[in-house]
């Protein structure tokens, strides 16, 4: 004869087991629904790529101290500041390549931001649409840049010339490193002054 309290205990345990099985089933279904919802939000189309455009990179050559213009077909964003950063990044990628004529490590990551602002001049009045480009270099790019008058000057001038070739309204260029003023790039080229793009003229053109 089974005691009454054991029957009651058995029924309670059976009810608890069924309830737990029900909860487990419910949680499993919820997890499954969540997974299906996640799959739905995954991209099913390739991201849009901007159409390629013709752009000019003015690259330096240490052998003869020249600046050579190269025509490239590149996908470029619409926003002028981002566009300038992408262009200068491509220029620094050229310098970081193993067979570069102007070897500088770092590549595109060396350009943190480029800001295009209305230009001002204390001496001569400028046309209303004249712009000042503020190029913010990264500290690691400046720290790893080879030291020397020629190599530093060519880096600065090639950046100015590339901006001038692709943004005709940019007449002045200033440089920052990690958002701060810095006396020189790597001990020589003055970064405290405003560079005029008219003084950075390519000495020739070459095919990539």
């Amino acid at each position: 004869m089974i005691p009454r309290y054991q029957k009651v205990l058995f029924v309670l345990l059976l009810a608890a087991s069924l309830a737990m099985a029900g909860i487990l089933w419910h949680l499993r279904n919820r997890a499954h629904q969540r997974m299906l919802a996640g799959e739905d939000s995954a991209p099913t189309q390739a991201p849009e790529v901007e159409p390629a455009e013709q752009a000019t990179l003015v690259a330096a050559n240490d052998a003869d101290g020249s600046l050579l213009a190269q025509e490239r077909s590149l996908p470029l964003p619409e926003d002028p500041g981002t566009r300038a950063r992408v262009l200068l990044g491509k220029l620094l990628d050229l310098y970081a390549s193993p067979d570069s004529a102007h070897p500088v490590p770092g590549g595109a990551a060396g350009i943190a931001q480029v800001f295009l602002l209305p230009a001002q001049s204390a001496q001569d009045p400028l046309p209303a649409d004249t712009e000042l480009a503020v190029v913010n270099l990264t500290g690691s790019f400046a720290a790893n840049h080879p030291s020397g008058i020629e190599t530093e000057t060519l880096t600065v001038l090639s950046i100015c010339a590339t901006l001038r070739a692709n943004f005709p309204h940019v007449a002045q260029v200033r440089f920052l490193v990690d958002g701060q003023m810095r006396p020189t790039l790597a001990g020589h080229a003055d970064l405290t002054r405003t560079y005029l793009t008219v003084n950075a003229v390519p000495t020739g053109a070459s095919n990539p």
């Binding site: 240490d62 052998a63 003869d64 101290g65 080879p146 030291s147 020397g148 008058i149 020629e150 190599t151 000057t153 600065v156 006396p183 020189t184 790597a186 001990g187 020589h188 080229a189 003055d190 405290t192 002054r193 560079y195 003084n199």
Partner: protein, 225 residues
């Protein structure tokens, strides 16, 4: 009394050459060259492939060039003679106080080849009584370009590769004399291989001899206002 008059005339004729010999020489302008070995002290500059710092190689080049110029009768003022820390303003101050006829800022580098000559990228401006410190060199740009021309000819004549350029170099832009930055890069063969490093003694001697010859040539050129 006639004989006394003739005696006075005779004595005067005899004395004139003697007086002329003892007269003080006409004042001549002293030709002073300023040599500025770049970097120094806590500022080591670039590092050469030999491991030597730029500050050491520029000081060695300055010592060589100073000896050659002194031997040719040119007064030389150097901005540093030891491993001392000098900022660019101090260098320009020393050069300007020397009232020099030319200033050479000496650098060495691992990049490029041969001798790089740089003149300030400031636009030429007329000389006025008070010059802005950061752009004082603007009044001497024409003479600086003439000096760079003389250096270019002499260095090329010595068989070294020369590159000419304009740059914005702190210190150089504040000098009130014809000023050129001279950067000695490795001597390279036609295939780009290094023949001599910038700290090589014989290479430095060759370059210094060419620079000294250029300074002599520049001294002989007629000066422009």
């Amino acid at each position: 009394m006639r004989w006394i008059r003739w005696a006075l005339i005779g004595a005067t004729l005899v004395a004139l050459p003697i007086l002329a010999q003892n007269a003080p020489p006409a004042p001549s302008t002293r030709f002073v060259a300023v040599l500025d070995p770049a970097h120094g002290g806590t500022d080591g500059g670039g590092r050469l492939s030999s491991g030597q710092l730029e500050k050491t190689a520029t000081l060695a080049l300055s010592v060589r060039l100073r000896s050659l110029l002194n031997a040719r009768g040119i007064s030389v003022v150097t901005t540093r003679e030891s491993d001392a820390t000098l900022d660019s303003d101090r260098r320009a101050t020393l050069a300007n106080h020397a009232k020099a006829q030319l200033c050479l800022s000496l650098h060495v580098s691992e990049s490029g080849s041969g001798v790089h000559l740089f003149v300030s990228s400031l636009a030429p401006a007329p000389e006025v009584q008070f010059l802005p410190w950061k752009t004082a060199q603007a009044a001497w740009i024409t003479r600086s370009l003439a000096l760079a021309g003389a250096l270019n000819s002499a260095v090329a004549h010595a068989g070294l590769n020369v590159t000419l350029g304009r740059t914005a170099l702190p210190g150089l832009d504040s000098m009130t004399c014809p000023a050129v930055a001279v950067e000695l890069a490795p001597e390279r063969a036609s295939d780009g291989s290094v023949v001599a490093e910038p700290d090589d003694a014989s290479y430095q001697a060759k370059a210094a001899t060419a620079l000294a010859a250029a300074v002599l040539e520049f001294r002989s050129e007629p000066r422009q206002p």
